[in-house]
Amino acid sequence: MAEIPRYSGPFGVPQAERLLWRAGFGPRRGEAAQLAKLGLDGAVLSLTRPAGEKWVGPPPRDEKGRRLAPGDAYGHDHLWWLDRMVRTSRPLVERMTLNWHDWFATSNSGVGSQQLMMAQNRLLRRFSLGSFRKLLIAITANPAMLLWLSGIDNRKDAPNENYGRELMELFTLGEGNGYTERDVREQARALTGWTSTWKRGKGRTDFRFDPKRHDPGMKVIFGKKGTFSWRDSVALTLRHPKHPPFFVEKLWSYFVPEPPSATTRAGLEALYRASFEVRPVLEAILRHPALYTGPRMVKPPVVYTAGLLRGLGRGVDTRSWVWLSENAGQRLFYPPNVAGWDDERWLDTNSFHGRWGIANTALEKFTLGDKNSKNVKVPNDPEAIVKGALALLGNPTIRPETRKELLAFARGSLAGATGWKAEAYPPLVANAVRQLLAVSPDLQTC
């Protein structure tokens, strides 16, 4: 087996911060220092083999103070999941659930049932760090997926190629990578048989496999002949020689922005091929030097939002997060299409405006100089203002040039602050510095 490189450099707060962002939603106050004390191996294992869930922080509410009803109220689905990201003590489980949501991108715009989307979300979480084989079997039979990719309309007398095509193109092999149009048609036949019952007022219920709708005839898939069923369809796809490279590259891309070297790729493929288990591959990726020494990655909008709230110690308390996240390009349970979110678009001029709004809303509860904070004295001191902004956001590591820019801004803004301005300006400047820090490249990327 090709040896997979391991990171052997220093593992301090900056490395722990990066790990917590890539494999979760960023650190809470002091969390990066705590993680750093465990060393690389301890830190990685604490994420991949976490203890039981322990929620941290206030329970979520909407802006009217109502408890969330994720299956029954618009936007509460998004808030419910965002809250899990903010309060979880098992961040990698939640982050992998998000990655699988992108991988098997299912949108409620085609499903039309938040209840079914919640059920799919539970499934993704259950298999978050486990067997990809089991996950693929479960997602193939999942009601939300059966609706989204027309599995429910795929029957022997009218085969529907939608799921069979995406199974290979997006979930397991890659576009045109080792299959033909004939394989698509034959996969569709193998996948026939799913049905449900329509009930007035309830919609589709009782999703099940009905042998009468299944095409039991002879099929040829990837050159192999047989009377294949839907389970065979999944198994054949997993055993396809092009699957492990696809799997490894796609999983890797959620954690490291540049493709793996040939040696790393070969090592990860061998690791994966042994059992189709996700955890060992994740552990190798999270220990890899490329994660700690390579270029930075743009945080997806919900990761950015959850991280800000974790740093601030603020819970989910407004439905505004739904449209703010949508403006930044990521509404949970509504990926733009079956290929998932396009992370090339996380930071364009439009979505950056959305991120500005996210930072503004995250910080608004901590605004200085308004009636809620009139007793808080802000010193007329640029250094103290920048230090205060960093402390509020959980003391993230920032580059010296970012600190310099923030200081220059604070100095410039306070330069003429004499007389009554000496008291009035500092809170306003402090608010602006906090906003600038929250939207800085250092906090938009990890």
């Binding site: 009803a69 299956g71 029954d72 109220a73 618009y74 039309g112 938040q114």
Partner: protein, 122 residues
Amino acid sequence: MRRVLLPVLAVALLVAGAAPATAGTEAVSFVQVVEKEWSLVMSRTSVRAGRVTIEAVNFGTDAHDLVLQSKAKGSKPVRFKQMDPRGRTERTLRLPAGRYALWCSLPGHKAKGMKATLSVRG
């Protein structure tokens, strides 16, 4: 005068069926009604009596609205505003136990299948 009228009005509305609910600390149940051509699907078909937020969402390509009416005698319909495609509207009502009919009142929509029954448990 006002003190006398309000309880009378509240009782009258309860007798008639659904009544607008005022905000308070009382727990609220939610029901989402997904409307499209030509179905009306509820996120749950049964809720507890009390404050219930009914939220209609239009997943269709045509405009739709929603009407809710208790099946008890003498009840009055509660109308939700009309929604364009991708639109949404909600109302929080105090619902006594009983069965409630829901439908889209745009011409022909109910006949095509946009109707359902919500059960409210006591």
